[in-house]
C-alpha cells in the first residue's frame, strides 16, 4: 500500500465520521425545539411535514438576500443626501471630465419598451467613496480564479459603522486588524480570507483565497488603493481598478433599480433605463436594463466581482465582459440574469443587463446601442421618471388570496392553497415592485411555534405573514417606545388554523430592539409570542 492510499483511506474514515457527527448534530438541533408559551396546550399543532428545527442560538437566520436590499437602501439614502446637496448649492451634481454621450438601443426584443428612466446616484457627493483594485496572474487560464483585492473605503463614521470585529486579531503594518474566513471572495467563487483595518479616513480591506498571501498583501497595501509588488505572489499584476461603489449598482440593477432617490439627481450623474413589457403582470418578468455612467476602462472587469461566471467578449470593438447568474430567479425566471459591460471611448461605462433574456439577445442589444439624439434622453426621463405601479396577475388555480396590499410601487398578496393546509407550500407570498422586482416564497420551517411567521422586505414595505396555531383575538408587532402594528387574522376556507398578515413601512421599527409579535386572547391576555422574526427591528 502506498502513502497516497493510506491518506485516502484515512480521508474516507474521516469523511464517514464527519457525516455521522453532522447528522447527529442536526438531529440534536431538531429535538431542541423551543417550548411554546405556557398558554399553549390544546392548541398545540400537529407536526408539520416540513418541520425544520430552530437555530440553536435561538435566532432565526434571515433570508440573506434581503440584507443586500438593505445595502441598496443605504446607498439610496446616500444618494438622497447627494440630491439635497445639489439642490442646496446648485453645483453640478457629479464631477465628470466632460458631458456623457448617452447611448440608446436601436433594437430590443419584441414587446419591450421603456418603463423607467432615471439618473444614478453618486455617493461620492455625500462623502462616501470606495475604490477597489484586483490583482491576479494574467498568464493563468483564468486570471480571476485566485485574485487578491484591496478596497479602500472613505465614509462618514456613521456609515462605516464600528471598527472591524470578529475573526482573528492580527497586526498589519502596525495597525490592529481583523482576519476572517469568508465562504466567497471578491471576484472568485471559493472561500476567501479577508483582513480589514481602520485607516485615517476610513477602512482598508484586503481579500484573497490564501491566508498567507492575504497577510503578505495587506502588509504592502496602500490607500491608493494598491498592493505593492513586494506583497504580491510571483506573476501577479493589476487586473482591474475602479469605483467599488459602482459595483453596488449591480445589486440595485438586479433588484430592478427601484430607488426613488435617483429621480432627483441630474442627468450628468448617469442614466438607467429599464425596458419591459408594461402589460406583464407576472412575477417572472423579461426585461433589459441599460446603465451608463462615467467610469474608466480599467473598471470593465469589475463586473466579475458581482458575476463571477464571466468571460471576455467585445462590444463596439471594445473589450467587454459578459457574465451570467441565476440570482433572483423569481424575477428573471429560469433564464436568469445576463450582464455585459464595456467602456466607450469618451469615458462612459455601459452595462446592459438582461432578465430572462438569452445571452445572444443581450449582446445584440449591446451591439445595437447608438448615440442618443438631442433631447432624446431628456424626453425619455420626463416620460418615464416614475414607473407605472406594478400589479399582480390573476390568482393561480386552486389558491385563494388571503390578504393583499400595496407597497410604494407595487403590490403584495398572501396566497393559500386550500388543498394543503398546515403544510409546505400551503402559504405563498407574491410581490411585484419597481420596474422588474418580484418575490415569491413559501412558509414551512416553523421555527417558533405557535406564531410561526415569515417577514418579507421589499419596496420599502415589510410584510409579516404566517399561520396562527393558537386561539387568539389579536396579533400585533410591537417594541418598547414604538407604535404597535396590528396584524389581521384571516380565516381560510377548509383550513383548521387562520392566517396572520400585515404590512408596515420597513423602517417602522428601525433602531428598536426586542421587537416581538404577540398574540392575545379576547381578554387581552398573551397567548403566544414570536421573539425572533423582527428581533433586530
Amino acid at each position: 500500500m502506498t502513502a497516497t492510499d493510506d491518506r485516502l483511506d484515512a480521508l474516507d474514515d474521516r469523511g464517514r465520521a464527519a457525516a455521522r457527527t453532522l447528522l447527529s448534530d442536526l438531529a440534536r438541533r431538531a429535538s431542541a425545539a423551543p417550548v411554546a408559551p405556557a398558554t399553549e396546550s390544546s392548541g398545540q399543532p400537529e407536526p408539520w411535514v416540513i418541520q425544520l428545527g430552530p437555530p440553536a442560538g435561538g435566532r432565526r437566520p434571515v433570508r440573506r438576500w434581503w440584507l443586500a436590499a438593505a445595502v441598496v437602501t443605504l446607498l439610496m439614502a446616500v444618494a438622497g443626501a447627494v440630491a439635497v446637496v445639489i439642490a442646496d448649492d446648485g453645483r453640478s451634481p457629479v464631477s465628470s471630465s466632460g458631458p456623457l454621450h448617452y447611448l440608446l438601443p436601436s433594437w430590443l426584443p419584441a414587446g419591450l419598451q421603456p418603463v423607467r428612466a432615471t439618473g444614478i446616484p453618486d455617493p461620492a457627493s455625500a462623502g462616501f467613496t470606495a475604490d477597489v483594485a484586483v490583482y491576479g496572474d494574467p498568464d493563468r487560464d483564468d486570471p480571476w480564479s485566485a485574485t487578491l483585492a484591496v478596497v479602500h473605503l472613505i465614509a462618514p463614521e456613521a456609515l462605516l459603522g464600528d471598527a472591524p470585529s470578529g475573526g482573528e486579531e492580527v497586526t498589519v503594518a502596525g495597525h490592529d486588524a481583523r482576519l476572517s474566513n469568508q465562504s466567497e471572495g471578491l471576484g472568485s467563487s471559493g472561500p476567501t480570507w479577508e483582513v480589514a483595518w481602520q485607516v485615517d479616513d476610513g477602512r482598508l480591506i484586503v481579500s484573497g483565497p490564501h491566508r498567507a498571501d492575504v497577510l503578505a498583501a495587506a502588509e504592502a497595501a496602500t490607500t491608493e488603493p494598491a498592493i505593492a509588488g513586494s506583497g504580491l505572489p510571483d506573476g501577479y499584476q493589476e487586473l482591474a481598478r475602479g469605483p467599488f461603489t459602482d459595483s453596488l449598482l449591480f445589486t440595485s440593477l438586479f433588484e430592478g433599480f427601484g430607488g426613488d432617490a435617483a429621480d432627483t439627481v441630474g442627468d450628468d450623474s448617469g442614466l438607467v433605463v429599464t425596458y419591459g413589457d408594461p402589460a406583464d403582470r407576472d412575477t417572472v418578468r423579461t426585461a433589459v436594463v441599460v446603465a451608463q455612467r462615467p467610469g474608466p476602462a480599467s473598471a470593465v472587469d469589475l463586473l466579475r466581482i458581482w458575476v463571477p461566471d464571466a468571460e471576455a467578449t467585445s462590444v463596439h470593438g471594445r473589450p467587454a465582459v459578459i457574465g451570467r447568474t441565476r440570482e433572483l430567479a423569481g424575477s428573471a425566471g429560469e433564464n436568469g440574469v445576463v450582464a455585459v459591460q464595456w467602456a466607450e471611448p469618451d469615458g462612459q461605462l455601459v452595462t446592459v443587463v438582461g432578465f430572462g433574456v438569452a445571452e445572444d439577445v443581450v449582446l445584440q442589444v449591446a451591439e445595437g446601442m447608438r448615440p442618443a439624439t438631442a433631447g432624446e434622453v431628456a424626453a425619455l426621463r420626463e416620460a418615464h421618471a416614475v414607473p407605472a405601479p406594478r400589479e399582480l396577475g390573476a390568482v393561480p388555480d386552486g389558491q385563494v388570496a388571503v390578504a393583499t396590499g400595496d407597497s410604494r410601487t407595487g403590490q403584495w398578496r398572501i396566497l393559500a392553497d386550500a388543498r394543503r393546509h398546515d403544510n409546505i407550500g400551503a402559504l405563498t407570498i407574491e410581490r411585484v415592485w419597481g420596474a422588474i422586482g418580484s418575490t415569491s416564497s413559501t412558509t414551512g420551517d416553523r421555527v417558533e411555534p405557535p406564531l410561526d411567521l415569515g417577514a418579507d422586505y421589499s419596496d420599502g414595505t415589510a410584510v409579516v405573514w404566517g399561520v396562527l396555531w393558537v386561539d387568539a383575538a389579536s396579533v400585533t408587532a410591537e417594541a418598547p417606545g414604538v407604535e404597535p402594528v396590528p396584524l389581521a387574522i384571516h380565516e381560510v376556507t377548509g383550513w383548521d388554523h387562520p392566517v396572520v398578515a400585515g404590512a408596515f413601512p420597513d423602517d417602522h421599527f428601525r433602531g428598536a430592539s426586542d421587537v416581538v409579535v404577540v398574540a392575545r386572547d379576547a381578554d387581552g391576555r398573551e397567548v403566544a409570542r414570536n421573539t425572533t422574526l423582527l428581533a433586530d427591528g
Binding site: L11, A19, T21, S189, T251, G330
Partner: protein, 188 residues
C-alpha cells in the same frame, strides 16, 4: 418559481418510485416522503453552504419544488434524486448570492450574523469539501454523507457515472492534500 422537468428514468433507487395514491391523492404520499427525507436534505444542503439557516431554506425550497413536480406529474419516479438535484443547484446559487451580499454588507460594517454552530461536526473537513469545485463538492458530499454509489450520484448530478468517478477521484485527492498534506520528500 418553477423547476425544470423531472429527472429522466434511470437506475437510481428503483425502490423509490412514488406515485399518487389511487384513492388518497398525492399529499399523504408526499408527506411521508418529505418527513423521511427532510433531515438528509438539510444535511446535504449544509455540506454545500455551511449555514444551517440557508440549508434549511434550501431543503425547504427543494421539497416545495419536489411537491410541485409530484403534484403536476402525478408522482415522480425518483423523488430522492429529484430533491437532491434541486438542493445541489439551489445551494450553489445561494452560496454565490451570499458571497456577493456578504461583500457589500462587510464593506458597510454590517456583517450578517455568524452561522449557527454544530458542536460536534468536523467543520474543518466540510470546509475543505466546500472549497472544492461545485460538482466535486456535491459528489463528495453525497458519497460520504449518504454513502451513495456512483450510479446514484450520477443520476442526481445529471452526468455520466464516469464523470462522477473523476469528480470523486479528484475531490478525494484534493481533500487529502488539504487535510493531510503529504510530507515533503527529504534529501535522497
Amino acid at each position: 418559481m418553477t423547476v425544470s422537468g423531472p429527472i429522466p428514468d434511470s437506475g437510481v433507487g428503483q425502490g423509490d418510485v412514488a406515485q399518487t395514491d389511487e384513492g388518497g391523492g398525492a399529499q399523504p404520499a408526499f408527506d411521508a416522503f418529505a418527513r423521511e427525507q427532510r433531515r438528509a436534505l438539510v444535511a446535504f444542503a449544509w455540506t454545500l453552504t455551511g449555514d444551517v439557516g440557508v440549508a434549511e431554506d434550501v431543503a425547504q425550497d427543494a421539497l416545495h419544488a419536489t411537491w410541485q413536480a409530484w403534484e403536476r406529474d402525478g408522482g415522480l419516479r425518483h423523488p430522492e434524486a429529484w430533491a437532491r438535484q434541486v438542493v445541489a443547484n439551489r445551494a450553489a446559487d445561494r452560496v454565490r448570492r451570499a458571497g456577493r451580499e456578504r461583500r457589500a454588507l462587510g464593506l458597510l460594517g454590517a456583517r450578517p450574523d455568524p452561522t449557527v454552530d454544530l458542536p460536534t461536526t468536523d467543520h474543518e473537513f466540510w470546509d475543505a469539501v466546500r472549497a472544492l469545485p461545485d460538482r466535486q463538492a456535491q459528489a463528495i458530499a453525497l458519497h460520504y454523507l449518504e454513502d451513495r454509489p456512483v450510479a446514484e450520484i450520477a443520476e442526481i448530478l445529471g452526468c455520466a457515472p464516469a464523470t462522477v468517478k473523476v469528480h470523486l477521484h479528484r475531490g478525494r485527492r484534493a481533500l487529502a492534500d488539504a487535510l493531510a498534506p503529504a510530507p515533503e520528500e527529504g534529501p535522497q
